[in-house]
Amino acid sequence: MSREWETFEEIVLDRQAEIEANQVIETYVMDHETYERIYVKAIISKDPTKLPDGEKLWVRDFSGKLEPECWAIKIVEKQSPISAALLGEDF
């Protein structure tokens, strides 16, 4: 069973242009079940049909509410947040 992920709207909105261009972005997401945070290189799409081999990505708005429709995410590479942070990445 594929995993589901979660993120915050303001995190992905910062990368809107890259997301719309289907580029690989670096960001963090949380496991939708455990809320464990991982740092990823991934392609994200607001329209899951455009990323058929992707996993579900649930997005919370600024007030913390889950958007009713999920997005999609295809994770290319995973890192632990602390490893990413020690490399100077934003987590």
Binding site: Y35, R37, I38, R60, S63, A85, D90
Partner: protein, 491 residues
Amino acid sequence: MPFPYVDERVFMEECEKEGMLVTVKKEVDWNLEVGAIARRLAELGIGRAVREGGRPAVLFENIRGFPKGFRMAAQILGGIDRVAKVFGYKGEDLNKAKSDLQQVIRDGLNNPIKPIRVDRKDAPCKQNKMEGDDVNLYKFPAPMLHDGDGGRYMVTRAVVATRDPDSDWVNWGTYRAMLIDKKTLSGLIVPGQHIGKIYRKYEERNEPMPFAIAIGIDSISFLAGATGVPYGVSEADVVGGMRKKPLPVVKCETNDLEIPAYSEIVIEGIVPPGLRAWEGPYGEYTGYRASPRDRRPVYIVKAITYRNDPILTFVSTGVPVDETLGNAIINSAMAAEVLERAGIPARVWEQVDSGACMFVIAVKRPTPNIATMIKNTLTSQMGLITNYTFKFLIVNDDVDIYDSNKVLWAIGTRVHPRRGIIISDEVCGPLTPYASLDERLKMNAPHVTFDATWPLDWHPSIAVPPVASFKSIYPQEIQDKVLENWKEYGL
């Protein structure tokens, strides 16, 4: 075991025997369900004693996905009955405890007792240990408390111990922290808080700050950590003063910090300099999820020790009143002490119904500009608290400051819109709900002081309107007659 309690388990057991705690055996979910239950208990109980319609504390024994023995507890001091009990209060009138306990606390503040160190073998918190690669915070049922929180807040009812690198001062403070992953937490460390000042010193030296987070500690330690004990004073000593006996503490595994020996779970490690992670938002005790997400310091865990069958204590903070009642008593006691030392004898109550955001101060002898004088005295000497308690209401001594209805009556009837409202620019905490997002991030927003004292140049028997209450507007003989015949009236 009578007061003082050293072990929160014993306190909870006694509470259960007296109907002030309920053990839930049904399976519950760490993901929102336990938070929702504790929140509803808080909102139904609103700080009242169980015998007066309040709601009990709760111990959850069966957590989804966790082995038997891993437990959670909430609302431990969610009623005045438990607050009174934890301080060994013997009085029958529990509402009077709000004022009576302030003197107990002032005595404790003024007569601190250093903790006593026990051997590791005698410390229950050392019964189990994880270290290095074995560290896994997900072994514990860290709760997702509110839908939309930034993560699982494992640290809400705990103290975080840190040492000032320039002295022997050890600070115990209550600061929220959420899980990032198995070995990492991120937490709100505000620069003006004691931990923020200590952390800044380590950052300036480019050194990691050792820390220890003690969860499931005795309630007096929790309250001491959550209140504004003065800078440079170790909360452990004040705890000893308030309990009138030294608190047993034990040394950590990976640093020289000491924490309560009867802690349920102890998380140790370092906060590296310069490292930040996104933290928040989180539904806070003011009743709002007001502190925005921001990049905040990171706790890297090196070791965890815990008791057999550990109890993860938490507060599902939100619309008042939850566990702010005990903090209000301590903060009020400290404010009264500060004012008395400044030559302003007063009764003080940090109004819990206001989200613990307003000090109500009754002065015996108002002097010119008394309201401004009080506000300035408290903000200069209790800045840590007044960053969060940002409203002040100054009243004459006839107002019952512990009665929310009387406090509203005073605001409604005695505050002159032109001369009674004083606005001042102050430092605020990031939790300040009325501040703009920008003000919250910059931690700078106006405070307001309401002067509800009668003007000194108003003649008391001519200009000051008499209070029309049963006790003040009828002759004593009429009051006595009415009280004597009350039952005969059929009322």
